[in-house]
Each structure stands twice: as C-alpha cells, then as structure tokens.
C-alpha cells in the first residue's frame, strides 16, 4: 500500500489532490465523492457582492480554455449561511479562497473566517482579470509582501498564497510570500491571454482579455513550480493544466507537494479521483512507498540551468 498522505504546512491531507479554485462547487457532489479528495477548495469569495464580467465568459482554444469569469460573489454572509454548511457535510478539509480590493480588506475578510469547518485560507492575490489590465497583488514582491503580512497578522489558520504567472519574477514573489508568513504557495493562477474570432473580428471574450488554463499552460507552470520549489522551504502546490496522474507526477517531480486540478474537471468530471488512483498506481509501479517522496525527485543532477539562456 502506498502512503498517499502529504503535509502542507501544518495541514495533513489524505492525498495530494484537490480542486483548483473556481472549477469546483456543490454541483460536482452529484458526480464525485468529495470525501475522496485531499482537500476541497472554494471558488474565490469576496466580502462584498460582485456580479462578474460580461459574456461570453469563456472561449475554447486548442487544448485549453480562456476565461474572464471574474469573481461573481454573493458576499460573505451568503457564504457563511449557505456554502459553508454544505461543505461541512464532508470530511475532506475545506480551503476557502478569498480576494479583496485592498490589503486591509483582505486581512479583514480572513479574520472573519476563523471558523470551525475551515481548514486553511488560500489568498487569491493573483486573479488576473478582476481589475483593469489584469493588475494583481502577486505581480510584484512588494505588494505581495504587504498583503501577506496583513493576512498573517489577521489569521492563525494555515495561509496559502496563490501566485500569478503574470509576473516578470515569480521567484521574488514566492520568496516575498514566504518571508511574510505564508504556509504554502499555490503555483499558479491563469495566464493573461486573448483570442480573436477572425470571421467576426471580435475578441472571443466579452472582457477582451482573460486567463488561459488547461493542458496548454502546463509546461509553463511546471517550470514555475520547479523555480519556486527551489527558492522556498514552504510547500508548493502545483496547478496548471493537470488532467491525469502523469501530469500530477510531473508537477510533484518538479517540486510540488500537492496538486490542484482545474479545467480538466470540466472535461472529465471524474478527473480528480482518476488522478488520485493513477498516482497510487504510479507509485506502486515505481516502488515508491510514500507519494510525498515524489516531491522534487526530478533527476536533474548534473544538469545546469544556463545562466544567460534561461530567459529568451
């Protein structure tokens, strides 16, 4: 029997597989047994009511998805009275993803979520399409540091920082989050992108730009996971284009301690449980006793990152 348990900064998970925020909700419980998941992660919530972006909110591209959903939110009261009780039915730990327009508002929201049934906070400091031009806290180390310090002071729950790939220096942002007290990093959110319908000449999204996810982003996010995991001592949770167990293994070898499955669930509703079963099978086949032993186990010894040729 393979030991599937992993430890994410003080939080023990029965297995390393969980949903990515915004790609998981109550409706999936009709199809998937949530008690099998390593954790459950909510859609990002905000304290205030938000309506989200105009339609079309998604566009299909080859092997991936562009979305500009935004963060439609029914607010904190609705979350506490309707959503939280729903998830309390399940044994898997609940991670609540939060967002706010300012560092202070972020901290205030986190402070109000120190409640039974909430195991950790994932700070979505990276959502690329919520404000104009896709600006986000996690684009710079200094604003990451500022918001994570305030969050750390406001909450004693395990605190995960969800980074954005839309930054020039993800390693600096990762270190800033760790230094400010994050217990884990989620690498990463969607990549700011755009597509145009050549027949109509219109952008395919109502919001013009949106976030790219799905298999198309995987090599980019594997690279960022590798870079971040080498730069920090806290666990990294890999997220980007994972559709099967092989993808999950790849992320873990690159340095992830756990993985999040997002867009793949839209295509295969059972994707997460298939990844769990496939990870166990991979470990059994490779003689790996503990899935946690895969973390960072890429065989890169003797290879060297060419100093001048890492970035084009």
């Amino acid at each position: 029997m393979v030991d599937m348990g992993v430890q994410i900064g003080g939080l023990a998970l029965a297995n390393p597989v969980m949903p990515a925020s915004g790609t998981f909700a109550e409706g999936l419980a009709d199809v998937v047994d949530f008690n099998r998941l390593g954790a459950m992660v909510t859609k990002t919530i905000t304290a205030e009511l938000r309506s989200g972006n105009r339609v079309p909110r998604v566009a299909e591209i080859s092997n991936g998805l562009l979305n500009s959903i935004g963060i439609p939110s029914k607010g904190l009261d609705y979350f506490l009275s309707e959503t939280l009780p729903f998830y309390r039915q399940f044994e898997s730990p609940l991670v609540v993803s939060i967002s706010a327009p300012t560092a202070d508002a972020f901290a205030e929201l986190a402070g109000r979520l120190q409640l039974p049934g909430i195991a950790a906070i994932e700070a979505n400091i990276s959502c690329p399409n919520i404000e104009e031009d896709g600006h986000a806290f996690a684009m710079s180390a200094s604003s990451t540091s500022q918001v994570m310090r305030k969050l750390r002071a406001a909450s004693s729950l395990p605190l995960w920082a969800k980074l954005t790939p839309n930054t020039g220096d993800v390693v600096a942002v990762a270190r800033a989050a760790e230094d400010a007290g994050a217990d884990a990093l989620v690498v990463a959110n969607t990549i700011l992108a755009m597509s145009i319908d050549t027949e109509t000449r219109r952008p395919t999204l109502g919001n013009i730009m949106g976030g790219l996810s799905g298999p198309a982003v995987k090599p980019i996010i594997v690279r960022m996971t590798y870079q971040c995991a080498r730069a920090v001592t806290i666990p990294v949770i890999g997220c980007g284009g994972i559709a099967d167990a092989n993808d999950a293994v790849e992320f873990m070898l690159a340095g992830a301690s756990a993985v999040q499955v997002g867009t793949a669930t839209f295509v295969q509703p059972h994707a997460m449980t298939q990844v769990i079963d496939g990870l166990a099978a991979y470990c059994a086949r490779k003689g790996v006793d503990r899935v946690a032993d895969l973390t960072g186990a890429v065989s890169d010894a003797g290879l060297r990152l060419g100093d001048s040729e890492i970035l084009p």
Partner: protein, 285 residues
C-alpha cells in the same frame, strides 16, 4: 419533492434538486446517427445509469469526438430529445454548427460517447393544467417534443406551434402528432411565421380555453411574444434557454443570463438554475 416543487424553488432563485435524481458521466453506445434533413441530425444512443431517466428540458454535456479537422476541448450541451427508462435509449436532435457538432456528426453505430447528465432543471407541469401551448423553432423543438409527451402522459392537451424557414426545415411533427397534439406549422417562406400571425394563433388558443400555460424554446422573438401575451392574459409560462457552457454543473459561472425578478436584474446560471426558467422573468438574448 415534486417536479412542480422543484420549479417553484427554481423560480424563487434557489434550486432544490430531486433527491437521488442521479447524475453521472456514462459511456453510451451509439445505435444510429443519421441526417433528418439538410440541417439536422438525430443521434440515438444506448445509455447506462441514470441517463434515460432524464425529464423533458434537462440536458446532457456531451464529449464530442475529435476528427481529422477538429479537436473540440470542452463538452457541448444538448437537450434530451427522447429518454426511455425502459430501453435505456436516449436521443439528441442537433444542428451541425462548428467543431463540437461536426465531431458528433462523425459518430457511427457502435461508437462510444461520454455523456454527463441528466443535468439542470427541466419543465414542470402543474396538476390543474388541462391544455398547454408549446411554441418552438429550430432545435428548440428538440427540447419541446419530450415536454409534449410528458403532458400527454398526464392527460394534458397540447397545441404545438412549429415555426420554421420552409417546409423542409419543419421538425418533429410526428412526435407531436403521435400524442394527439394539435399541430400548427408556421413558415418564413409564406410569411405565416410573422409575429402578428403567431400572436393571432396564440390568442385563439387562449380564447378556446386551450392555454393554461405557455412553453417556448429556440427563438428570442417568439419568447418575447409569448412573454408579452402571457403577461397580458395571465398565462403562466416556462422558457428553455441556451448559453455557452464549460462545466455544465454550476461551477464555472460562464453560462449566466440576466433575469428580471421583482424589478431587479439577477444573474442566473443556465446549466444549474435552468435551462428551464419562468417565462415572466426571462430577458431578451
């Protein structure tokens, strides 16, 4: 809870599901997949699990096959055209539009198709309704045909107003005729599909006492007409809506449309809060 109860809960804005209604992603085997006319295809599958218990108005999220030309990534939503719990047969009536439906058209007898469902909130019939009017156009009729059968099974009379470009595009008449529906065909080619003429037809149904409820799908113009008349004549109604979907399970919030509820605009997910909504609350699309 009854289906009517589910509908009432739906129109109140929070959806309660039928307990144990059962949703699954199943592998169905294609029995046939043939052209009905130059625009529409009929896909017939043998589906295990809960699929064949779909009620009228519910839909499935189909994983459309990759072809030489296309690799559709997301699933595509399709209404239940027929679902027979005894035989496990489920049918879809579809129009070939783009990558996804081109993929569907490539399926041959014996092939397999992953289908997630049945999804969403279907039509609901009130026990005191004696006669309903269904008004549809294009693939909207795929959604309305099983509703007519559900009504007939409960001894509710049906008038079906079928709108089409020309006689060749008229769909599903036998499906409506077989249950004894009164069928009215209106066409663009002879002008009978004009809003004025359809309005006359609907008013006549009402005058004859045959319009306890209105149902529509497939045309914005016809939806607005039914909504206006329903409002004026005090006739309840339901509309089945479409919107682009990704997850089909209420998770991604891409499939929203606006509804007018007590003077306010509210956003609802077509896949989860619908696809069937109260006609009075729908807004133009």
């Amino acid at each position: 809870m009854t289906a009517a109860g589910a509908m009432a809960a739906n129109t109140a804005g929070s959806v309660l599901r039928l307990p144990g209604s059962g949703v699954d992603d199943v592998r169905a085997q294609v029995l046939s997949n043939e052209r009905v006319n130059d625009t529409y295809n009929l896909l017939v599958v043998a589906a295990p699990g809960p699929a064949s218990r779909a009620v009228a108005g519910q839909f499935f999220h189909l994983q459309c096959p990759t072809t030489d030309r296309d690799a559709p990534y997301l699933r595509r939503p399709m209404s239940t055209y027929r679902a027979e719990p005894q035989s496990g047969v489920v049918e879809f009536l579809y129009k070939v539009n783009g990558a996804g439906t081109r993929g569907l058209a490539s399926l041959e007898a014996g092939d397999y198709l992953s289908m997630l469902g049945p999804l969403g909130v279907g039509f609901a019939l009130e026990p005191d309704w004696r006669h309903i009017v269904v008004l549809g156009r294009g693939v909207g009729l795929a959604t309305l045909a099983p509703l007519a059968e559900m009504a007939a099974a409960r001894n509710i009379g049906v008038t079906a107003v079928i709108s089409a470009r020309d006689q060749d595009q008229v769909l599903s008449v036998p499906r409506f005729a077989d249950i004894g529906a009164h069928v009215e065909i209106v066409l663009d080619s002879d002008g009978s599909s004009s809003v004025d003429n359809v309005e006359r037809l609907l008013r006549r149904c009402h005058a004859e006492g045959h319009a306890d409820a209105f149902f529509t799908c497939g045309s914005n113009r016809l939806m607005l007409l039914m909504q206006r008349l329903g409002d004026e004549l005090g006739i309840a109604g339901q509309v089945a809506m479409e919107q682009q979907m990704a997850c089909g399970l209420g998770m991604c919030h891409c499939c929203v449309r606006d509804f007018r509820v007590a003077g306010e605009t509210v956003s609802r997910r077509v896949c989860w809060d619908g696809p069937v909504f109260a006609l009075a609350e729908a807004t133009s699309w």
